[in-house]
Structures are given as C-alpha cells and as structure tokens.
Symmetry: C2
Subunit: 368 residues, 2 copies
C-alpha cells in the first residue's frame, strides 16, 4: 500500500466553464505496475469514501472500504494488478477541495469553490494516469458515485480501458435520490453554525453540524433496507431507557445517532455539499441526444451489477443501460447481474461474496 | 359539518401509569346520528392529520384530508352514516397537547406532558363516544397511525364495533419506520431554537424549526415512492437556477423545501415529538403473548388494505395480520387487499378510486 499526493501546476478546465488554476490529487495504490504499465486497475470511490480502498494503517481499527475485494488472491488481485484509487476532487481527504487555498485570492475557497462534475473528476484522474505513464488501464471498477465515474470513463474516454465494471449506480441521478440528498444539503446550508460556509473547520471536527447529522441519517436510511434494519435491530429498546419516556430510544435510534454524530465530525460539510451536488447533476446523457447516443461511444466491455433491494439507485436504472446496449447491438460487450441481496445499496460494500466472482471474471475477460 | 370540543373533568389513566387530570377532545362530524345512535362511523386520523377529515371551511382552499371518501354518496356515505373524526391527544389541533396548561403547575406542560400511546388515544375517544351516547359504532376506519387506532379498538374494545377497516398500517412499528422518525426527533431535540421545549410557540409559527423541516423532508420521502417522484419531477431544474451553481435546485428540491417549510410553521414541534413517540412505541402485541394472542380478542370483521409501494409500513406487515387471523380460524371475519399503487404510503390519501369500493363494501357488511 502506497499513499501519494501529486501536484498539478496546470489549469483544469471544468465542465461549468470555470477553471481550477492548479490542483492536487491524493491516491493510494496496491501491487506493482508492470514494465509496460498495462496492468492498472482503477478503483473509483463513492460519495463519502476515499482513496483508502484497502489495507490498514497502523493507527486504524478498520481496513479500507473495499479491503475484501482488493488484495493478494482477491477478486481484484494485487499479485497480478496495480490497483489505484484516487481521492476525488471536492473530497476532504487530500485532493483539492473547498477548504484549500484559492491562489487567486490567497484565502480558502469555501463557497467560491467551483462546482465539480463527474466529468471533471474523471478528467483530473486522466491527468494523473498520464503523469504516471498509464496510457491504458486494464480495467475500471466503481460502485455508487464510483460507478458514475466508471461509466463516465467508458463514454468520455472510450480508449482508456477495455473493461468497465459498474455497481449499484445509475446513468443519471433520479428525483428520488435527489430528494434524499436535499435533506443533507438543506441541513448544512441552514445550520446555524454553517455561517455561510465560513464555519471554523476545527470546531466542526469537534462538534459536527446538526444539519449534517440529520442529512447523514437520511443517507443512512437510503443505503439500508427494511429487511436489514429489522434483522439487525428489531424493536429492541435501549436497556437504560424507559419505554414511556419521551426521550427513550430504540436500539436503531442509538445506532442512527451514533453513526450520524461520528460522520458529522469526520466529513467536512462544505465538501459534502459539493459532492452531493456532483451526484445530483450527474447525467451521462447531458451532452448527447439520449442514453443510446451516449452509450454508443463505449468501446469497453461493460459489466453492470445492481442489487435487488437498492433504494437509492434502482436496479431498473442499470437494466436500462443494459437494454440500451442490447439495442445498440452490443450483446457481446455487455453483461448485467441483478444480485439478490437484502442489504440495499450498501450491498456493494458488505455482501462481497455475492458478486466478487463476477468482478473477478469481468477483470479477466479477454477480447477474442 | 359540525366542529365541537368536549371537556372532560375526570382523570384519564394512561398506559404509562401517569394520569391526565382532565382533558379535552376536539372532533368533527358529518351526517346525522340516528335515533338509536347505531349509525356512527369512526374515522381515525394519521400523524399529521386532524379531526378535519372532510368538507371545507370558508377560509380554506383545500378540503379535509379524506374528503374524497366522506360525503353524500361517497364510500363513507354521510346520507346514511354519522361520521365522526376525533383529534388525537398530543395533536396541536384542539385536543389536549403539550402546549396546554397543566393544572397541577399552572403552566404549560411542554416536556412534562406524559407520553400518550395509541391505547390512551383510543380510551379517550371511548369516553367521548360514551358521552355522546354511542354505545356501539357501525364501523371504524383508519389509515397509517389511524389504522393503528382502528386495530387497537378491535383488540382492546372488541364489542365496540362489528366492522374495522385498517389501511396502510401495521400491528407494530418496525425498525425501518423508527429510523425515519429518528430524523425528525433528533432534528427537533437538537434544533438551536428548541430550547429544551421552551421555545416561543408564536415565533415557531412564523419561522419553523430547521430540524423540523429536515425531519419532515425525510417523512415526505417515506410517504412517496421512486416512481411517483420520477413521474412528478423527473430531472427538471428550477428555471431561474444555474445547473453549475452550488445552490441551484431541481424542482424536486424546491418542492421538498416548500413543503417542509410550510409544515414546520403549521405543526408544533413538541406535538410532533409526542406523536412520533406514540407511533414508535405502538405494538399491538405488547400486553399479549404474541400477535395471535392479541388478535384472538377481535370480534369485529377485519378489513386490511395495504399498498404495494408503501415504504413506511410494508404490505408484508398487514399480510401477517391476515395470515394470523387465518391461523385463528377467522377466515370469514377477515379480508385482505394489497392494492397495486405506485404512490407508496400516500396512496391511502391520494389513490382513493383504487380502494374506496372495498371500504364501502366493508362498511355495508352484514353478519349472517
């Protein structure tokens, strides 16, 4: 496991028309890049994820978010591949984000940070790969917001990889997911401590914004499923709380509060705002006539994996990509699996054994 | 349409062991009570509803919440029946609630108000019916929290009605619904203007609590469905907002904000806390061995109506009531319809024409 930050003293022209005069990207890699630099597998992270996809630092109790997928002998095999995961622009974990210094003003961007799209995130990563010397990746894999990036690579950089694997994601964020995101956006913007984006970032790390906690609770619900919450918590009550006390809590209440409170301290609210925006305005069809037109650019073989209980990005959205690929006569260049999981959206992070073999096979795929 | 408030200068012994020394109930009625007072149909309202179930006051733009169901010639026919809907205890619309004066202290209850359960709500209503002279209701009908009341009448007051109709509800609130409610509870309790329950209630009517807005957004999502939001809003953007502006909004965002903001001004936060608590701790099996034991008390014919897309109370929960009634050998005393609707939980309020005939028929049912 190697963690690095790469600095780019060159402008990044954004989809919005705005320009980042310079930027940095933090990334992590596992395994060794081979001599002809042809064995890179790009892993794209989700909204609240980071470049730390696998392995464990000394001070950590938990491994990276996809540790069960990435490693020696695992589905994304580091004995064979050079696996790289780049922290996305706007994220608070080391790449350029709203808390960085805007060179033109000398002070932090804060609300002056430009809106970053999935296209921009992918373009920035392309510059990094180019600098490392990776002209073509062996495969690209991503779930949720990472799946959006994977699809964007496939459509907008069709020569970059022959294998693209997209999980628990969509080709355009639908009203339902936007509605969920509105809770956290409204919560952050209207939190009394947000202060128009000029909050004390160190204080926020200690206390967290209540608006962020509430939004995170809603996000949490969207990642789960009625079944998984029932199995995990049922109607168990917190032992020390009274059933007839107004503030008495069920165990699911305590879980929600605990997670939301930790998250609000761990994840910067401005960064969250920018990434939620990025997710909301993602639409792979925007610059094309329609989905068919957009997908017609793809040259890679596309592997689509959805999860039956996913409440955030419905399997039907992935199915639409599949059927459109079939309409385009790409029967041999697309495969679609709808995994039977009761874990909802989170399944791509927790029920690895239900789909890792599909990912492994898709990575091993060879053009005839 | 007649609106009245009835005052009870007698104690109400609550499930919690606490006592309300006196209480009042506001209610609305439609149609005429017949000579032997045998034609009453009791309608029970949901969490944010009120006794104003049908008809329209002079200053109103919208009719009562179930106007399409209640009226001359409608499913609940006011030519034939005396329809009565009672505002539940804890609700801010006229019955005793946390904003009322606690006689023992001379000041408002606020957080000293006792937790009220569905059992308490139903017991209070029984006192009202007794005072009016209704010994037996012709039928009881309710959706969501109103369905919980209907089931409670059936189990705990089995002689009170021969016909009980329950829609979009459950026999015990599950972890999933509790998780949704946690957002609004956490939001209210942690809102900087909540002030330990001592907020200025008039100011709240003008500004509303942000925590309440956020909770309401989550509630709103739980009432809807991915399909209905997609059909209604799609990815339409607010015309005056820029796509690449951080604060630019989709139309679904504007809708969520508009509704949440109105709601937070219209519904008192302390009352919401108490009713959310009431919903969370509802469990018709609490004082029984199990569901079968609880349902064995029922003497009424039970009509169960669920909605396929309901994300708050799953059809499977209603189905469990049905199958348990069958286990009890009550085949002739139970019927269950799972309505094909894409409107989610809200269907019981908006897709009347998909189920009103079942309600009509259930009300007309005659014991052989």
């Amino acid at each position: 496991m190697v963690t690095k930050t790469e600095y780019f003293n060159e402008p990044l022209h954004l989809e919005s028309g705005r320009i980042l005069n310079s930027f940095k990207l933090k990334y992590e890699s596992y395994g060794k890049l081979n001599a002809d630099k042809s064995n890179a597998v790009v892993v794209c992270h989700a909204l609240t994820g980071s470049h730390h996809a696998a392995g464990r630092y000394e001070n950590e109790t938990k491994s990276g978010w996809w540790d069960a997928m990435i490693g020696s002998g695992k589905a994304i095999d580091t004995d064979e591949f050079f696996v790289i995961c780049v922290n996305i622009l706007s994220s608070p974990f080391g790449s350029t984000c709203p808390l960085d210094i805007d060179e033109s003003s000398g002070s932090e961007y804060r609300l002056n940070f430009p809106v970053i799209t999935i296209t921009d995130v992918v373009n920035a990563q392309m510059k990094l790969f180019s600098r490392i010397g990776i002209k073509k990746a062996h495969a690209i894999v991503g779930g949720s917001l990472g799946g959006m990036q994977a699809l964007c690579f496939a459509i907008e950089h069709p020569e970059f990889s022959d294998r693209v694997i997209m999980l628990a994601s969509t080709y355009q964020t639908k009203a339902w997911a936007i509605a969920f995101n509105r809770i956290v956006i409204h919560g952050i913007l209207n939190d009394v401590h947000f202060d128009g984006g000029n909050y004390d970032k160190n204080l926020v790390k200690i206390h967290g914004l209540v608006g962020m906690e509430l939004g995170r609770m809603a996000g949490h619900i969207s990642f789960l499923s009625p079944y998984s919450t029932e199995v995990k918590f049922g109607r168990n009550y917190v032992e020390t709380d009274g059933l007839y006390e107004l503030k008495g809590r069920f165990q699911v209440d305590r879980y929600m509060e605990y997670n939301a409170s930790n998250f609000a301290k761990r994840f910067d609210p401005l960064c969250y705002l920018y990434i939620a925006k990025m997710m909301n305005i993602f639409d792979a069809t925007r610059h094309y006539d329609d989905l068919k037109d957009a997908l017609s650019n793809i040259k890679a073989r596309l592997t689509l994996i959805s999860f039956r209980g996913d409440m955030l990005f419905m399997p039907s959205e992935m199915e639409e990509i599949y059927s459109t690929m079939l309409d385009l006569g790409r029967k041999n260049m697309v495969e679609y699996f709808n995994i039977d999981s009761s874990y909802g959206h989170d399944a791509f992070l927790v029920e690895i054994d239900k789909f890792d073999f599909y990912v492994k096979r898709a990575i091993k795929w060879k053009r005839n």
